[in-house]
């Protein structure tokens, strides 16, 4: 099992969700996050004073899937979240040791 963790631009969430659904991904967790990378922030003006928004709002997606699906999930996110501009985000893939469905106690791939 793999955890695919992606940081994307907020307005790309719907596209990513659609792409993953069509792959048969059964669920995902989405969080609103802030951070910075190469995009850095941008300079804004508020009441005559300049300020830099050094934390940019992003969406974090977490998807756990079996090993076979993981590479296709990564590909789907990479394509659907791509706007070609700086700040499109990153994808990380992490090995998952165990998964448990709380209601039934099922474990492993069947819990996904």
């Amino acid at each position: 099992m793999k955890l695919v963790l992606a940081i994307i631009k907020p307005f790309k969430l719907d596209d990513v969700r659609e792409a993953l659904s069509s792959l048969g991904v059964a669920g995902m967790t989405v969080s609103e996050v802030k951070g910075f990378g190469r995009q850095k922030g941008q300079t804004e003006i508020y009441r005559g004073a300049e300020y830099s928004t050094n934390m940019v709002p992003k969406i974090k997606i977490e998807v756990v899937c079996d090993d076979d699906l993981a590479s296709r999930v990564v590909e789907a996110i990479q394509q659907s979240a791509n706007s070609g501009a700086i700040g499109d985000g990153k994808i990380f893939v992490i090995d998952v040791g165990q998964a448990v469905r709380i209601r039934t106690g099922e474990t492993g791939d069947t819990a996904l």
């Binding site: 804004e44 003006i45 508020y46 009441r47 005559g48 004073a49 300049e50 300020y51």
Partner: protein, 437 residues
């Protein structure tokens, strides 16, 4: 508000003269009888009064929108508390100082608390219900107090602020009002302030300025010559607040005509509505254009301040200007805001909502601009009124702020200020479902 005594006398004359010399003057000819005039005048006070009362909601929303989310509950609390304190103080002693019944004086005091009127009682000699007059005057007093809370937001403890409000609404504001609307010395020298650019707005502005200097800026606001920006937490609320204030201003300026018993008065009230509206429009458009030119983006909070600056500017004389003049007066208010907001930051005077440019500086401009459209008003009297109000309010406010600072302290601990006043002093967060920064 014009001088009340003059207005009452004029009204009495009109009522007596109307039946006898009906053909002489159109306005007088169309004047209604004493009882009806009494009803209409009272109605004007009541409608104007509740519109101005609603401005308290406008201030509350404007301030709630322009502070950070960790101080929103506190700002809401301060606004409803100060409105209530103003009401009680203005009944207890404020009105009696504001209208002491002198002529040309500096300080006087009539019987207090204000006697109001009995059930079913009506003195048609005055031309209006005294309770309606008191109510209309009281909401102006509350407006003055509202101005202070915005400037000092996010860093003043609640109790010293409320104690200052008691003194502002029970003493400082009433004294200034007595000089002009109470037929005091400024009125005697020809000073004119129709609805209170100086008496209400600058008075609040001076008190706020003295407070801001003594209190100091919010922690981390000015560090190493750099201005750190603390963006407002809710622009829709600030916008709604501005629109509420704009609406309330029709009562503020319109009902300051103080009479609606003749066709002339009703027409004047209508003209005041138009001029009031146009000045605000010009303030907004000016701020929009200027921020676009200066910063390549339009700052919505400056546009909101521009509306209020336009309104404050026209308040000293909303009747005599033509529409182009009203637009010009309001537009200059907008210019003042766009340039004064960053200027205050350079001086490290932290004015969270821009109340000093809007109420103090635009109030001064509006007061000095009265002779442009009203030839009966000497410029020297206007200048004297501006300076006298500034000196009196700044000194008295300064003394009060210093005493409060020495006795109980004005600011919370650093830890409390960083954590937000909502948590420390109110115990209720405005937006408990979000993490506050």
């Amino acid at each position: 508000m014009r001088n009340k005594l003059m207005m009452a006398a004029g009204l009495g004359l009109a009522m007596i003269a109307a039946p006898a010399f009906a053909q002489e003057e159109v306005a007088a000819a169309e004047a209604v009888g004493g009882g009806t005039a009494y009803i209409l005048n009272t109605l004007l006070f009541l409608i104007g009064g509740f519109l101005v009362m609603w401005m308290a909601a406008g201030f509350a929303m404007l301030e709630a929108g322009l502070v950070r989310s960790k101080n929103v509950s506190m700002q809401c609390l301060k606004n409803i508390a100060l409105y209530s304190i103003a009401g009680i103080m203005f009944w207890f002693i404020g009105y009696s100082i504001a209208y002491p019944g002198f002529e040309g004086g500096f300080f006087g005091i009539a019987d207090f608390p204000y006697a109001m009127q009995g059930v079913g009682e009506a003195d048609t000699e005055t031309g209006y219900s005294v309770a309606s007059d008191w109510f209309f005057q009281m909401v102006f007093c509350a407006t003055t107090a509202s101005i202070v809370s915005g400037t000092l937001a996010e860093r003043i403890k609640i109790w010293p602020f409320l104690i200052f409000t008691v003194i502002l609404t029970g003493f400082i504001y009433p004294v200034v009002v007595s000089w002009e609307w109470g037929a005091g010395w400024l009125d005697a020298m020809g000073f004119s302030d129709f609805a209170g650019s100086t008496l209400v707005h600058s008075t609040g502005g001076w008190a706020a300025l003295a407070g801001a200097i003594i209190l100091g800026p919010r922690l981390g606001r000015y560090v190493g010559g750099k201005v750190n920006v603390f963006p407002g937490s809710n622009i829709p609320l600030a916008t709604l607040g501005t629109f509420i204030l704009w609406l309330g201003w029709f009562g503020f300026n319109g009902a300051s005509q103080l009479a609606m018993g003749t066709v002339g008065d009703v027409s004047d009230v209508s003209k005041i509505f138009v001029n009031t509206n146009m000045a605000a429009c010009a303030g907004v458009v000016t701020a929009v254009i200027l921020t676009q030119i200066l910063y390549k983006k339009i700052d919505v909070t400056m546009a909101l301040n521009g509306a209020l600056a336009g309104l404050v500017s026209i308040t000293a004389e909303p009747l005599t200007p033509s529409v182009p003049m009203a637009l010009l007066i309001g537009a200059i208010g907008g210019v003042i805001v766009v340039f004064a907001v960053p200027m205050l930051d350079k001086m490290k005077i932290d004015d969270v909502v821009g109340a000093i440019p809007v109420h103090l500086l635009a109030g001064i401009w509006g007061t000095l601009a009265v002779p442009l459209t009203n030839g009966d008003v000497p410029f020297v009297a206007q200048l004297t009124g501006v300076i006298a109000t500034g000196v009196f309010v700044t000194i008295v406010s300064g003394i009060i702020w210093f005493i409060l600072k020495a006795v109980m302290g004005l600011r919370p601990s650093e830890e409390i200020e960083m954590g937000g006043m909502d948590h420390a002093e109110v115990g209720v967060e405005a937006y408990p479902e979000f993490v506050n920064a």
